[in-house]
Symmetry: none
Subunit: 222 residues, 4 copies
């Protein structure tokens, strides 16, 4: 049965647009405040103030405060993964891709959206069951992405890792490296100015670790 196509009226469109705009401005406000003052130190009223609505209105866009954090985290996670994926793909899944992905993380993610990095690596940590559960899922996906990239890479070069596990562990390690470097040099000790130099070293370390395992495998029979 065909649904009658209702052409949305002009005002309905505007309303729709306004709504979307509100949603974003609230979310942005939350991100900003969570990153700046911390999740617990931010009240719903402050989020309302910054996004120019009342605290009650925030509730018609987000289930609750936790939902705001979850959404912000998911969004950041999504961008993280996209960035990594794009960078890796752009270099045909080569070793250079791995390098690019690492540099891109620092250049395009951390430096451009520090608040996202802070939420992902600090504010979403230690905030109770539901958040932790989502964070776990997200980080597992991130690790999986990297693991797949590593597998593709080895495929391309024509070697394989000792085990599937091995690639996974490397992936998890890489996530750890990036997270810690971001935390250390951007969040704690504001070295934003020369973060890219640091990034170079960190990426070199990463590549070194990966290569060494690949080489090791290479020399092995089988």
């Amino acid at each position: 049965m065909k649904e009658p196509i209702i052409k949305p009226s002009r005002s309905a469109l505007r309303r729709q647009r306004d709504k979307e705009y509100r949603y974003q401005s609230i979310l942005n406000a939350a991100e900003k405040l969570f990153a700046e003052k911390g999740y617990h130190q931010t009240s719903m009223e402050q989020i309302g103030d910054l996004s120019e609505v009342s605290a009650a209105t925030v509730y018609s866009y987000f289930r609750n405060k936790e939902d705001l954090l979850l959404t912000a985290m998911r969004k950041s996670g999504y961008e993280f993964r996209k960035m990594i994926g794009d960078a890796f793909g752009a270099a045909d899944h080569s070793m250079d891709g791995l390098k690019n992905a690492g540099l891109s993380f620092f250049r395009d993610f951390c430096l451009k959206h520090p608040e996202k990095a802070i939420i992902l690596f600090r504010e979403a940590v230690g905030q109770g069951e539901e958040v932790e559960d989502q964070r776990k899922k997200l980080f597992m996906k991130m690790a999986l992405d990297i693991k797949n990239a590593l597998l593709k890479l080895s495929d391309n070069i024509g070697f394989k890792y000792e085990s599937d596990r091995s690639a996974e562990i490397m992936a998890v390690s890489i996530v750890g490296i990036y997270a810690q470097i971001a935390c250390h040099y951007m969040i704690w000790d504001d070295s934003s100015c020369n973060l890219m130099d640091i990034a170079d070293s960190a990426v070199a370390f990463t590549i070194g670790g990966v290569s060494s395992l690949i080489s090791n495998e290479k020399s092995k029979p089988n």
Copy 2:
């Protein structure tokens, strides 16, 4: 004039011992609960209940709830550093020492005191200014320890890193790797059973990264 030497009475000694015991049992209770239910989900009363004192008594041993977290974090941090330092030193600051330190972290720290790892890597994160400040200091010390170990290592082998910075970044990366592996395979996905296998791989990755940079340096003129 001779000061009378006040020999602590037997009862005073016992009281002293009792007090120390209380202090420890409260701190242990807090660690356990923070790790199990989360910092914010734990009330002072629950800590009192578990350590068989009243909440008010908890306050005569610790300034406030934050103080408990800080103390727990500091303690965990201290043990982390000691473990790493001992393991590295036990192998004469050689490359094996680096390996031992890594394995020791997983074997003697994570598996034996998972609640300490959880506090260090999860519950102490995202808990406001003071805690964050202390955490930063602690993690910087941890990174410094590892950096110094790396420097000693290179001295022993007779090579040096491209720069001081370079060693530092490796150290920070190593902290990141360990933290993330612990989080991933122990906290999230309880693979405690075979954590040591995972540890092997992670350590291999670490060693690979370090070696590669050392080798790279080696091949460089000067």
Copy 3:
């Protein structure tokens, strides 16, 4: 460009009125309880109960418990001063005005609002720095009002006091007399029935004191 005139809607007006009503009923409840049971013996919850709101609501109308006491004190102080001022003015600032003011204090202030007198002369005393500071300021204003009345009075009669100080001291004394009489015969020893007889005597004493000083001055060669 013309600003659109925002006419407050009917509902907004009602809300405004409701709010004002709430504020008053909370303040009245606090006054009643402070006077009856004492400031420290009254909890925020009890104030909420009596004014039929929750304790949390009390906090959205008053900063804290102290704020309630301060407000109550200020309000009582304002009414005290108004009453005295009116009574004195109504009799053209004559000696009769002084008398009227005294009688009015007992008749219209103490007997009609005993809780206000109790707050002013008992509950606001000895309650810490901020309250004491405000109380001091209030009582100084009260004394100043009376002093000015005394000065006007002497002007009217054509005599002057030995010094400005002298009038001030009389004023302070008068405040003391009224406060003590109220405390003694209304708060402690409920003689409300014949408080006005007592008032007559107290006022007579006051007038006597003032007159005597005026006379003394009169007889002095300027």
Copy 4:
């Protein structure tokens, strides 16, 4: 039956003396702190600290905190009454006696023991049922003393007041005057330097009030 007379041993005597000394030093500490920081702002521990005993020891000398306040108040009250009585008696219960008593209050009581005045006129006010009850009794006794003095005075001069009540009211008023002047010029506005000038005026006002009523009576038939 005759009690055997036990001659107290030397050590028992010393113990007795020590105990008395402790009692006084605790009470003094409490007076000092109550006057300086306020009753509620003073904790038992602080009282202990200042008198060099533990808070628990304070409880073997005084029933509770309220008891300390009550004792301090009673002691101050006793000295107030003694001072007034002596001064009045020293001048043969004449009008000069009244004057002396007033001056003595300011000179020998307020200036010498400001903390006593503060406790009597500020800290003991508004502190709950039991304290208020004792305070009432004390102030009634004080008023009665003065009333009796006034009656003796009128006897001496050969006139009488309109009624017994009349003398009582004057007495209460006088207490009020002294209390307020002390509060105003010593506690609030530290005019200790010239408090005696102020005292002169206040006493003059008092005497004026009394005289006027006596004169009034005198001129009346009967």
